[in-house]
């Protein structure tokens, strides 16, 4: 070694020395490509994308509860009201919503846009994934359909709080939601119109209904049946009754199983099971100390409107310092806000009734109510009178879908029809609060931090 070195001409040694780092440079590319932490997952495979959508914390629970907080099915005692830690929940309850949220964070807004972000990550990448087999193609379609459904569901939830209800005449001008359709966090936030917002939901859902299978193993995952059900809900809220009826029928064609309430055990703490036969898609409102089984008290007029021969009266309610609700389709104290066959049946009934197809409407009501009442005691209300039948259907709708996340939407849409418009009144600690039909306070202000960051226009 020493001899060789001593014999080498300095200039050769010099070039050898010079050459060595170049080899290092040549292999640099691969050398620096290694993941620093093996547990870091850069989501890019089908498995990763599926796992993002299977995150029920982001996709299925913690849905907004302000609508239910502000609706007329329930009230809070003053003590309970005062103990609500979130001031915005207190303000929502008395219909004086504020754009300022505790710690500058509106979970109602943030959680849904996080869900949309997850869906957009999936949608941005799913088309790049190559499917080799029919099974893989089916899986890829299902993942894409799932992301589209979840995105529409999130926009639906937001539209009920932060935009005006859909009114065909003004939907083209009314301010809608910022529609984010890509996962790039640097995209600008701009408000669309209500019309564009609802069109986006319908478009996503129509696509997903084609891509999704009719049934899946987990009710936390959407199906085409659920996609049709959500479309039916949306069309009903838009007043497009023919579409609503068609979508409800599509959904019921795939699944119309109803629970016979006579067979439920009302003595159980929560008589209705999670993932029961009526559930088409599982979703839950969480958060807030206002909307929960042992917190709120059911409106007494509403409670009295349940007939004694109505099984729901036992299944849904119990007494403990007032009437309490235990009928969550979540099987727990938190309230369900997903999609069910019973909602579809009653949606079909209403749409048919409004379209003047009274016998079809009555058939649907009979199908539902035979599973709710003892010995046909509802029969005398099923009359072939369009007006009376509609009133009856709407009453039953409220009773059937109590605390299922649709009352706030129903209040907003029914207010547009003077026959059904309702003035809401709350009395709290001697003070009276009133919410007039079509009040601007039916629309929650956009969180101030969003306004500050983006400069988008605030609701009136």
């Amino acid at each position: 070694m020493m001899n060789i070195l001593n014999k080498l001409k300095p200039i050769r040694l010099f070039f050898m020395a010079l050459a060595t780092p170049l080899f290092l440079g040549a292999c640099a590319a691969d050398f620096l490509d290694v993941k620093p932490d093996q547990q870091m997952v850069v989501p890019r495979s089908m498995k990763d994308l599926r796992a993002l959508l299977d995150n029920t914390m982001k996709m299925n629970i913690s849905m907004p509860y302000f609508g239910e907080t502000a609706s007329d099915d329930q009230y809070l005692t003053y003590d309970r009201y005062i103990s609500l830690t979130q001031e915005e929940a207190r303000l929502a309850y008395i219909w004086q919503p504020s754009s300022h949220y505790r710690n500058n964070e509106s979970l109602e807004w943030n959680n849904r846009y996080e869900q949309i972000f997850y869906c957009n990550i999936v949608l941005d990448r799913i088309d790049d994934i190559h499917a080799n087999t029919a099974v893989e193609t089916r899986e890829r379609d299902e993942i894409k359909g799932t992301a589209l459904f979840f995105r529409a569901f999130a926009y639906w939830q937001l539209a009920q709080l932060f935009c005006k209800p859909y009114v065909p005449q003004t939907a083209g001008q009314d301010l809608g939601l910022p529609l984010r359709l890509s996962s790039d966090i640097n995209d600008a936030t701009v408000r669309a119109t209500v019309g564009q917002t609802w069109a986006q939901m319908i478009d996503d859902l129509r696509q997903s209904a084609v891509l999704l299978p009719a049934s899946v193993a987990w009710k936390t995952r959407p199906t085409s049946t659920a996609a049709y059900a959500l479309l039916a809900r949306i069309y009903l809220a838009m007043g497009e009754y023919a579409n609503a009826a068609e979508m409800a029928q599509q959904s019921l064609k795939a699944d119309d199983s109803l629970i016979n309430y006579a067979l439920l055990d009302p003595s159980r703490t929560y008589p209705i099971d999670k993932f029961n036969d009526e559930v088409l898609f599982h979703s839950v409102m969480t958060g807030g100390l206002a909307v929960r089984e042992n917190r709120l008290i059911v409106d007494s007029t509403l409670f009295r409107s349940y007939n004694d021969r109505d099984y729901r009266k036992q299944v849904y309610f119990y007494f403990n310092d007032g009437v309490r609700y235990k009928g969550s389709y979540n099987g727990e104290r938190d309230f369900f806000c997903g999609l069910t066959t019973s909602e579809m049946v009653i949606t079909l009934a209403e749409a048919e009734a409004r379209l003047g197809r009274l016998s079809a409407a009555m058939d649907a009501m009979r199908k539902l109510l035979s599973n709710r009442y003892m010995d046909g005691s509802y029969a005398d209300r099923l009359v072939a009178d369009g007006e009376k039948l509609l009133v009856f259907i709407l009453e039953e709708r409220r009773k059937e879908l109590i605390f299922r996340g649709v009352r706030w939407t129903d209040l907003r849409r029914l207010n547009q029809d003077s026959r059904f418009a309702k003035t809401l009144v709350r009395i709290l600690d001697g003070q009276e609060y009133v919410l007039e039909p079509n009040s601007s306070r039916y629309v929650f202000p956009i969180p101030q931090n969003v306004i500050d960051k983006t400069g988008i226009p605030q609701n009136e």
Partner: protein
């Protein structure tokens, strides 16, 4: 797919190569014809007596070479034709000798003098060795004499107080006195690394610094500014601490050894004020009992444990004991103090033994030094001990004139066995221990203590045939053990080739293996296992949980490879001298970690049972249902890779003016692809002026030597957790149990380096009388592109804090170091002063928009506010106590009252009173040593100032629910009028956390941190040589951590660690060091 998975493109590769060529060429640009050097030998002796001078430094002006004399005073050095040798040695007058007249082997005499500085010191930056006088940056060396004399367990323990710029930050120290981090010239980052880089023998040190035997350390150098540290590039922003281990002294054979015995004082459990007296505690329990506070626990089917005091009160209420028995029992309880038992049965005085032995041989062919070290530590916790064995072999072989090779081996093995019990881990009823708890009975026999359940339940369970459910703390120690072992091996290979005179190529490779093993084992007889088995025993007596030992094995492995190829060029032509290096470096460190836990272990045959049903809810005793906890089984794999190119040049003219510059390009796998493509180079420039070499300074009456220097440049910082990609983490879904993924980082394509621009200017001086010398440096460090939390528009879908490079942090300060020898006669007195000021300020950040309560912990979790330091102390304004109730008053809507919730909810940041930094702005130390004949007495005082801390006090909610008390309880408001003498709120009817907060976070409890402490005192004696060859023997007696001698707070709280359970323990050591 592609856009998520890019590799460095071929253009990038081209650019990397081009850059490396450019750097290399640059360093040869100045290459010129060579002048041959010749080697001369010489001897340096004392003028009076002719004794050889050992360790004198010799520098040749023109050849630029440096050398040291060996034990015989002999040196060898390469010199140019007519060179000048500068000779310096502590205690002697410096001397210049021309080589023209110097004969080979001739003796040069030195005259004794008072000055004691190493004028020519060679600084090792980890990449190159430079004469200190040529450096342009801020460099400190740790005083070797002071460092050597101090006792230390690890290399960095003993540098505190021996340098400017360094702050040992102990804020996090709750109950572990070894827990500190080092800050060098402030804090330049928020979420990335804040500690300096530690380099041992040329490579960044991975692992625990305790693996290096402190007796093997030759010197420690701090690189503080851009010019000094830039060669470390992307990791240098917090400064660099370069540790060099010992090599054999040239041309000698030597043996040295040292033995130290140290005693560490047992824990002072009476230091922490959040322990109240048994009497006060019982009084509190009686009041709460009378209010019915314990009723729900008493009647609860959970059967949760109640303290003996409360149990007695129940017995008395139910008439099961008479009043006099009750009174006597309580009076007896009030006499106990669990700290007394703990001091005797849990703790002890510790004993540290340290042995080291080294041998060195050096000649023309070989330089080798082998040393072994052994430490045995009996911790101050009983049944807790550890040891360390280390071996170091540094070898260098010369193969003719061209080739030198080296092999350095460093092995260490550390083991600890911990079967001890700490007072804070005794948590009866899952609460802080009640003050009258007992560990032993009157005869000293271990006694049971309440743990989870009430005594009555434990007795019933015995009748049910369950395992003994009692908890006897002292006996339970036998059933749990923690065993840790750490084995580290570092192999450094080195080859140096002389290509032609002045040009030298170094190849270095380091292999590192760092293996950690931990074993945590609960025996089947342990309370932990018995409790689980009993809990999961059903009504028929069937136990679901296996009755056997629970063992957790933890294995960590770090494997590192590092390679470096470097060209060194050093040439002096006439009055010009150029030193340059250029090279490339590649490093990888892979960490693998595995945790495996088994249940039902039979230690004899090593069978275990993990096949349990973890999904089913089983009925639990005493009540409820639960799932069997899943055994911990985790795997981790982390890979760090670095690739760097660097060049550094130094040009000196006429020994007076030096210019320096450096560039470095770093890439790592940490960032994601885009930044790798950018690869921003880091650079620095600097200059110095040896003013005293100028003619006009020749006879300057003030300065013997004076050097001015300045530098500017950029260093970098990396964040290992950030990613340019969106990343997700897998979990198991809690509803469906399907695998689910959560996005934990939305990905930041703009991610880049944190860059720190550092400007430094300073001067080094020696006064004419040669008795005073020192340095003064001023600096300004501006960190740019610092990763900071940025709140995105939540509509983007990511509403958590998001780290992006946008913040700026500024540190500016002054370091002053002055040494003086005021008395120099038979008695010699040396005094050293180190003084640093650093102000730290956030200069760019998002306006604060979070919850005000985050300010209550801003002293430890930074809440960056523009214009303020990173770590701050705030206090809620204090409005006194209510005269009727003793409750703290707060103003709401202009009225003082007790609406705490409304007050706290309405509180804004500006309402809080701002005190200042939680980190000292001023740090200083003052060391004095007095030598009389063979005796030296030295002591170090250290001082910190300009910062604040919040002392703790009574929080009633914590007292009631967690038994966490405080001495201030005794001072509380009890009756109207007390508000005039005390500010401690009264005990409330029910616990109210907000009421407590108004007091415990109030401005009232904020204290100034300023203090002076006596760090250490040493008495060293050099006995007359017993054997002629045993030249250097020292007997050292020393004491460390002697405590605070003055502090601004009157509570005797150590402001550096206000929450510690006990103060830094004093240590007393006796050491013998010898070499021959």
């Amino acid at each position: 797919m592609n856009r998520w998975h890019k590799t460095i493109s071929s253009t990038q590769r081209g650019r990397i190569c081009a850059l490396s060529i450019a750097i290399l060429l640059l360093s040869f640009a100045t290459l010129k014809a060579q002048t041959p050097y010749r080697s001369i030998r010489g001897k340096i002796v004392e003028e009076a007596g002719g004794a050889p001078v050992v360790g004198a430094s010799i520098r040749a002006s023109l050849s630029g070479r440096a050398a040291q004399t060996d034990v015989h005073g002999i040196f060898a050095i390469s010199v140019a034709e007519s060179d000048t040798l500068h000779i310096a040695m502590i205690g002697y007058a410096a001397k210049r000798v021309t080589t023209v007249t110097l004969r080979d082997g001739e003796a040069i005499t030195l005259t004794k003098e008072s000055l004691q500085i190493d004028e020519i010191e060679v600084v090792n930056t980890g990449y190159q060795k430079i004469d200190k006088w040529r450096t342009t940056g801020a460099i400190s060396t740790i005083d070797r004499t002071a460092y050597d004399v101090r006792f230390k367990y690890n290399a960095l323990d003993a540098i505190e107080g021996l340098s400017t710029s360094i702050n040992f930050d102990r804020r996090l120290n709750g109950n572990d006195n070894n827990r500190h981090t080092i800050q060098l010239r402030g804090i330049g980052s928020i979420f990335s690394e804040q500690r300096p880089l530690i380099v041992v023998d040329n490579f960044p040190f991975e692992g625990d610094i305790s693996d290096i035997n402190p007796n093997d350390i030759d010197n420690i150098v701090l690189l503080k500014d851009a010019a000094a540290a830039s060669i470390w590039g992307a990791q240098a922003s917090n400064g660099v601490i370069v540790i060099t281990t010992k090599k054999a002294t040239p041309n000698t054979k030597s043996i040295n050894f040292s033995v130290s015995q140290g005693w560490q004082e047992r824990h002072n459990l009476y230091y922490n004020r959040s322990v109240m007296s048994a009497k006060d505690f019982l009084e509190m329990e009686q009041i709460l009992f009378d209010r019915g506070y314990y009723n729900s626990t008493e009647t609860s089917p959970s059967r949760l444990a109640l303290t003996p005091g409360v149990e007695s009160m129940i017995e008395r209420r139910d008439g099961r004991i008479e009043q006099d028995v009750f009174d006597r029992r309580l009076a007896e309880l009030a006499l106990y103090d669990v700290r007394r038992d703990a001091a005797k049965y849990l703790y002890r005085n510790g004993w540290n033994q340290q042995y080291s032995f080294g041998m060195g041989v050096s000649n023309d062919m070989v330089n080798t030094r082998v040393s072994v070290g052994y430490d045995d530590v009996e911790e101050t916790i009983q049944r807790f001990g550890r040891n360390r064995f280390s071996l170091m072999a540094n070898n260098e072989f010369k193969w003719g004139k061209r080739l030198t090779t080296g092999l350095n081996i460093n092995l260490s093995n550390r083991m600890s066995v911990d079967k001890g019990l700490r007072l804070e881990r005794l948590r009866p009823a899952a609460k802080t221990i009640y003050p009258y708890a007992r560990l032993v009975d009157d005869n000293g026999n271990p006694v049971p203590m309440i743990k989870d359940y009430r005594q009555s339940f434990i007795e019933e369970s015995r009748d049910d045939g369950l395992l003994d459910w009692r908890y006897v703390p002292l006996d339970d120690r036998d059933t749990y053990e923690e065993r840790l072992q750490n084995t580290r091996m570092a192999l450094d290979f080195f080859a140096g080739i002389n290509i032609f005179s002045g040009l030298h190529m170094d190849i270095r490779y380091q292999y590192l293996s760092d293996q950690q093993q931990g074993r945590y084992q609960y025996d089947e007889d342990s309370y932990y296992v018995r409790n689980l088995v009993n809990q999961f025993t059903d009504a028929n007596g069937n136990a679901v949980f296996p009755y056997g030992a629970i063992r957790t094995d933890e294995k960590g492995s770090g494997i590192g490879h590092a390679g470096r190829l470097q060209l060194n060029f050093d040439k002096a032509v006439g009055r010009h001298r150029v030193s340059a290096i250029a090279g490339s470096e590649i490093r990888q460190f892979v960490q693998d970690r595995k945790v495996a836990q088994v249940y039902g272990l039979d230690k004899e045959v090593l069978t275990y049972n993990n096949t349990l049903n973890y999904q089913t809810y089983y009925p639990l005793r005493p009540i409820g249902s639960g799932r069997i906890p899943t055994p911990t089984n985790t795997l981790n794999l982390k890979t760090d890779r670095f690739l760097s190119y660097y060049a550094n040049g130094l040009y000196t003219f006429d020994n007076k003016y030096t210019l320096s510059s450096s560039v470095r390009w770093d890439a790592s796998n940490l960032f994601g692809v885009k930044t790798n493509q950018k690869g921003v180079p880091l650079w620095s420039v600097g200059a110095n002026w040896q003013v005293h070499e100028e003619d006009f300074m020749r006879d300057n009456p003030i300065f013997q030597s004076l050097k001015l220097k300045t530098s500017y440049g950029y260093n970098g910082n990396v964040n290992r957790s950030a990613s340019a990609f969106a990343t997700a983490n897998y979990f198991s879904d809690y509803i469906t149990n399907l695998p689910n993924a959560t996005i934990d980082n939305p990905g930041n394509p703009q991610l880049r380096w944190e860059k720190i621009g550092i400007w430094n200017a300073g001067l080094d001086f020696v006064l004419r009388n040669n008795r005073v010398w020192g340095s003064i440096d001023g600096y300004r460090k501006v960190s740019k592109d610092v990763l900071g939390n940025y709140r995105l528009d939540p509509t983007s879908g990511f509403n958590r804090m998001y780290l992006i490079n946008y913040a700026n942090v500024k540190n500016s300060g002054v370091d002053v170091e002055i040494h003086a020898v005021p008395v120099q006669s038979a008695l010699r007195w040396q005094t050293d002063v180190y003084l640093s000021k650093v102000s730290n300020e956030v200069t760019k950040y998002e306006p604060f928009d979070g919850a005000v309560n985050s300010f209550y912990t801003a002293w430890i979790n930074p809440v960056p506010i523009v214009g303020k330091p990173l770590y701050n102390v705030f206090g809620i304004p204090w409005h006194g106590l209510d005269g009727d109730t003793g409750a703290p008053l707060v103003p709401v809507e202009g009225e003082l009252g007790m609406r705490y919730r409304d007050y706290l909810n309405g509180l804004e940041m500006d309402d809080l009173r701002y005190f200042g930094s939680a980190i000292p702005i001023w740090t200083g130390s003052w060391r004095n040593s007095i030598t009389y004949k063979s005796l030296t007495l030295s002591a170090t005082l250290s001082w910190k100032a300009g910062y604040y801390f919040t002392r703790n006090s009574i929080s009633y909610a914590e007292l009631f629910s967690a038994h966490r008390g405080h001495q201030d309880f005794a001072e509380r408001w009890k009756a109207p009028g007390d508000e005039l003498r005390t500010q401690v709120p009264s005990m409330p009817e029910t616990s109210d956390a907000q009421r407590d907060l108004v007091y415990t976070q109030s401005e009232l409890l904020v204290e100034k941190g300023d203090h002076i402490r006596l760090n250490d005192v040493q008495l060293a004696w050099r006995p007359p040589a017993v054997f002629r060859s045993m030249k250097n023997t020292q007997l050292i007696l020393q004491a460390n951590n002697l405590g605070i001698i003055w502090s601004a707070n009157k509570y005797r709280i150590d402001p550096d660690m206000p929450n510690a359970l006990y103060p830094l323990q004093r240590m007393f050591m006796l050491s013998i060091k010898s070499s021959f």
